[in-house]
């Protein structure tokens, strides 16, 4: 019964490139509807792990299921059931807002009617009514990111992966973006997010910290701060990452 | 000067560390030369011919043997009805058929012998070549026969191919391949290498350095001049070793003219790079803006004199056309500068024009 409430079950997931172990036997679960923060320094193996979980890269060893599907054997099923958005937003710059929504709705197999209602809803939610026929190119960065996120969850996936979604966005828009993330979790969508703004880690329900391919710790932000006796996640992260660096 | 050499050293690092560039540089000439030399050829050998002999006998068998014994034909099918012949063509068993009518044997000495050649017109070029070859063989045999038996009052024309007596197509293609390769290496690789610096943002640091724009351009261009000359020599040597094609004229003159053409192509490359901000765009522009015109309009494959007038006019702005005339002249006819000075002047003029244009367009700042 319990496993049904888990969107990601990761058991000893490993990826090696030649001699180099990018992801070293990480084991963790992500519960349905939670915001899961996935932290780590550059090169700690975050991107490799996300690629494995989204079915783009097959693991060297270990096992993981996402939305009930095995990452090694059912990557196509996984792709249907997840949303993905990265810092390099995936919208087509030379298409209008409406065309982008229609296109992504189409590739995720929404019916014409669903696309119509969904795009109306989405455009209204973001307050873009006056701009729906504008090319994405001319929109401010924050808008693009909000739009990209909304499109990433247009097919109501069980989980959405966000790779540094708020990089470079102004502080107010960043908070609005997190507002959208909260709303998505209320719809039952699980959110898996990486960020370099560590105060954003505090918005997550649980946070994992990767250092050099290992999953060093995983807990709620409050518990992590308590455990390492720090006031904020920034200090927790610095403490863990720096400590590992000078241990070598 | 030290800056300049450092820049050139850097360019060579880029070239020798990029497998794609190396492939274009060295794989391309070999591939093209072999492709044009062996595969795409207009010479006919061992073509399939179908025989519909309605009058078996001494003469018809002699004629068929004559066809068989030539290098040109191989009898691939013997048919016995029109329907069968149809089938042979439809299934591509033969591209040409010889039909010997009934009463051929009897009518041979009464000058009533008629032979029909049927060729597959879906490939007109091939059909023409095959039928004229077959015709030639038949005529030769007839001459022989009639020469023995009775006098013939016919006049035949004998054609001799000057400069390329055996009509080897590879002779035509080597100058063409050199032209293409020089254009490709010089223009495309230069424009891509400049566009790459724009794409990566490294051009910004180069701008914000004491390097003069002229040095940047020349530094980009010099490595490709060296490599292009090397390439031209390489192709000539390959053509000589593999296809036994000599350079009839002065090699020094040939290399000097090639250098001129390389400079024309390079300035075109620099010009392209000034208007493209990404490698992809530079590639597209050089492919469609340069390669296609060079192949189609330079006279390499299609003779310019056969083109409609507008295309003939357009072909005059294509540098490759003039270089092709020059290189064919030197390689095949062995002519000296006296015969190609006009074309040389045109190239000089084009280079100067484009160098001036690209220096004007090459900004010391971003747009």
């Amino acid at each position: 019964m319990e496993s049904q409430n888990k969107v990601i079950v990761c058991d000893g997931l490993t990826k090696t490139f030649g001699d180099f172990t990018a992801v070293n036997a990480i084991t963790f679960d992500v519960k349905k509807g939670e915001i899961f923060g996935f932290l780590g320094a550059n090169g700690a193996g975050k991107t490799t792990a996300i690629k494995m979980l989204s079915g783009l890269l097959s693991p060297s060893s270990g096992k993981a299921t996402v939305a009930g599907f095995d990452v090694a054997t059912q990557p196509e099923d996984i792709k249907k059931n997840i949303g993905y958005m990265s810092q390099h937003f995936s919208l087509y710059q030379d298409m209008t807002i409406k065309e982008n929504i229609r296109f992504y709705g189409g590739i995720y197999g929404l019916s014409r009617k669903e696309i119509k209602t969904q795009s109306k809803l989405l455009i209204k939610k973001l307050g873009l009514e006056a701009y729906e026929n504008r090319l994405v190119e001319g929109l401010p960065l924050g808008w693009k990111q909000k739009l990209a996120f909304s499109i990433a969850i247009i097919h109501n996936p069980s989980i959405v992966f966000l790779d540094e979604p708020t990089s470079g966005v102004d502080p107010i828009t960043r908070r609005q973006f997190w507002g959208l993330i909260y709303e998505a979790t209320h719809q039952g969508i699980t959110v898996f997010v990486t960020t370099h703004y560590l105060e954003e880690a505090e918005y997550c329900d649980r946070v994992s910290i990767m250092v050099d391919g290992d999953l060093k710790d995983l807990d709620t932000p409050q518990n992590l701060m308590k455990k390492y006796d720090k006031d904020n996640m920034n200090d927790v992260f610095l403490y863990m990452a720096v400590r590992s660096k000078y241990k070598e | 000067m030290k800056q300049f050499f450092a820049f050139i050293k850097k360019e060579f690092y880029h070239i020798f560390r990029d497998q794609r560039t190396l492939l274009v540089l060295f794989g391309m000439p070999i591939a093209q030369l072999l492709l044009f030399g062996y595969a795409i050829t207009t010479e006919v050998s061992n073509a399939n011919i179908a025989v519909f002999n309605q009058s078996p006998g001494q003469f018809s068998n002699q004629l068929i043997n004559e066809l068989k014994s030539s290098d040109f034909f191989r009898v691939s099918a013997n048919v016995h009805s029109k329907e069968e012949l149809e089938k042979v063509f439809r299934t591509d068993q033969a591209k040409i058929a010889i039909v010997i009518p009934p009463k051929f044997e009897e009518g041979f000495y009464n000058r009533e012998a008629q032979i029909q050649l049927i060729a597959d017109g879906s490939d007109p070029n091939l059909a023409t070549i095959l039928s004229s070859s077959a015709n030639a063989i038949i005529m030769k045999w007839m001459m022989k026969k009639s020469g023995n038996a009775l006098p013939v009052e016919s006049i035949t024309t004998g054609v001799r191919w000057h400069y390329n007596p055996s009509l080897k197509s590879v002779l035509m293609f080597v100058p063409g391949v050199i032209t293409i390769i020089l254009m490709l290496v010089s223009a495309m690789l230069t424009s891509i290498s400049i566009a790459r610096e724009k794409e990566l943002g490294t051009i910004e640091i180069l701008f914000v350095s004491p390097l003069k724009p002229g040095i940047i351009i020349i530094g980009k261009v010099v490595p490709f001049i060296i490599l292009s000359i090397f390439n031209a020599v390489f192709i000539l040597v390959m053509a000589w070793i593999i296809f036994d094609i000599p350079v009839n004229g002065s090699i020094v003159l040939l290399l000097l003219e090639s250098l001129l053409f390389i400079i024309t192509a390079l300035s075109l490359g620099v010009l392209i790079s000034t208007v493209s901000n990404s490698q992809q765009m530079a590639l597209m522009l050089s492919l469609f803006g340069l390669m296609l015109p060079v192949i189609l309009l330079s006279g390499f494959i299609f003779p310019i004199s056969n083109m409609p007038l507008p295309l003939q006019v357009i072909s005059n702005i294509i540098p490759a056309k003039f270089y092709l005339i020059i290189i064919k002249g030197i390689m095949l006819k062995g002519v000296g500068i006296m015969y190609i000075w006009k074309e040389t002047l045109v190239l000089v003029f084009m280079s100067v024009l484009m160098i001036v244009l690209s220096i004007k367009k090459f900004k010391i700042r971003l747009q």
């Binding site: 700690a44 929109l139 990452a241 | 450092a6 943002g201 490294t202 701008f207 010391i364």
Partner: protein
């Protein structure tokens, strides 16, 4: 050392910079703080002579950046926003190349880059493309420094870089400053503002404020409260509906509330409780640069609420 006077620049009808004026003193570590698209890179490109302004002038140590661009190019160290090194050249080849084109050698100015480059030396023969983010950044900085520039211009050097490498990078900048290099650096990370001597907050091509970090936070005009609750998202909604509250923003687990006048804490507490939020803790707090930035954005109407025509 640097003077900007009424700089304006438009791209295809969109105003990237609107009448920017400020100056940077010799030996200063000056920060240009603002999100992507605020106009930071455009300003830096004008300063480093690769772009021309539509209006206004910029002076580099008294030399005009347009008329005397050669002087500027000789004396500026520039690290553009994109990773601008040759990925297919090794660490050493990159450094050698940049040293040579600036007419110097690694040996000559080794002092200045020693501390930074020493960390790279174990990977001297590795291609730049194979370096980790933090290492690339160190190499780019070494290359920008190799000719001993008067002014170092760094465009978002810490963008997308993890917190550890960012901290190391700012430590390096501090030691460079101690060696007398004037530094102007841009960043989208508000928390890095406090590490500069002076900062300019920039949004949508306009400067919101220029001051020392302390000067900026001191000038925060509203009263700031911090609220700890267990339900951030719900609390924010409730708080933003209270008329006396100008704005409420989350800062991790804490909510910052700005108000023109003192709030009745008891009343706010009650409203929160009525909406099902248990045990809120409200205290007076001090503004950070980020608070100031957001407040200025709202009061100067520079939120992303319109598309430029």
């Amino acid at each position: 050392m640097l003077e900007f006077k009424n700089i304006s620049k438009s791209y295809e009808g969109q105003e990237a910079l609107k009448d920017i004026s400020f100056d940077v003193k010799k030996g200063e570590l000056f920060g240009l703080i603002g999100p992507d698209g605020a106009g930071k890179s455009t300003l830096f490109r004008i300063l480093t002579t690769v772009l021309l302004a539509d209006n206004g002038t910029a002076l580099f140590n008294g030399h005009d950046v347009v008329d005397d661009y050669k002087y500027v190019r000789k004396n500026v160290g520039y690290m553009p926003g994109k990773f601008s090194l040759y990925q297919d050249l090794s660490v050493k080849e990159n450094l050698n190349f940049f040293a040579t084109i600036f007419g110097t050698s690694i040996k000559e100015n080794y002092d200045l880059i020693k501390d930074i480059y020493q960390q790279l030396e174990p990977f001297e023969n590795r291609r730049a493309g194979a370096l980790s983010g933090g290492m690339k950044q160190k190499l780019a900085l070494s290359c920008a420094l190799i000719h001993k520039p008067m002014v170092l211009v760094l465009d978002e050097p810490t963008f997308g870089v993890d917190a550890v490498s960012r901290k190391e990078f700012w430590d390096m900048l501090k030691s460079l400053k101690a060696k007398g290099v004037t530094i102007i650096v841009s960043t989208p990370y508000m928390d890095e503002a406090s590490l500069c001597d002076r900062v300019a907050l920039i949004q949508k091509g306009k400067i919101l404020q220029i001051d020392t970090p302390k000067g900026i936070t001191d000038s925060f005009e509203k009263i700031l409260y911090t609220i700890k609750t267990n339900k951030i998202y719900e609390s924010l909604k409730v708080l933003n509906d209270i008329p006396e509250v100008s704005n409420a923003f989350s800062f991790g687990q804490i909510i910052h509330v700005y108000a023109e006048n003192e709030l009745n804490i008891e009343k706010v507490n009650n409203i929160l409780r009525e909406n099902g939020i248990e045990d809120p803790k409200i205290e007076l707090g001090e503004a950070t640069i980020e608070d100031c930035f957001m407040d200025l954005m709202v009061s100067q109407n520079l939120e992303e609420d319109g598309v430029a025509e």
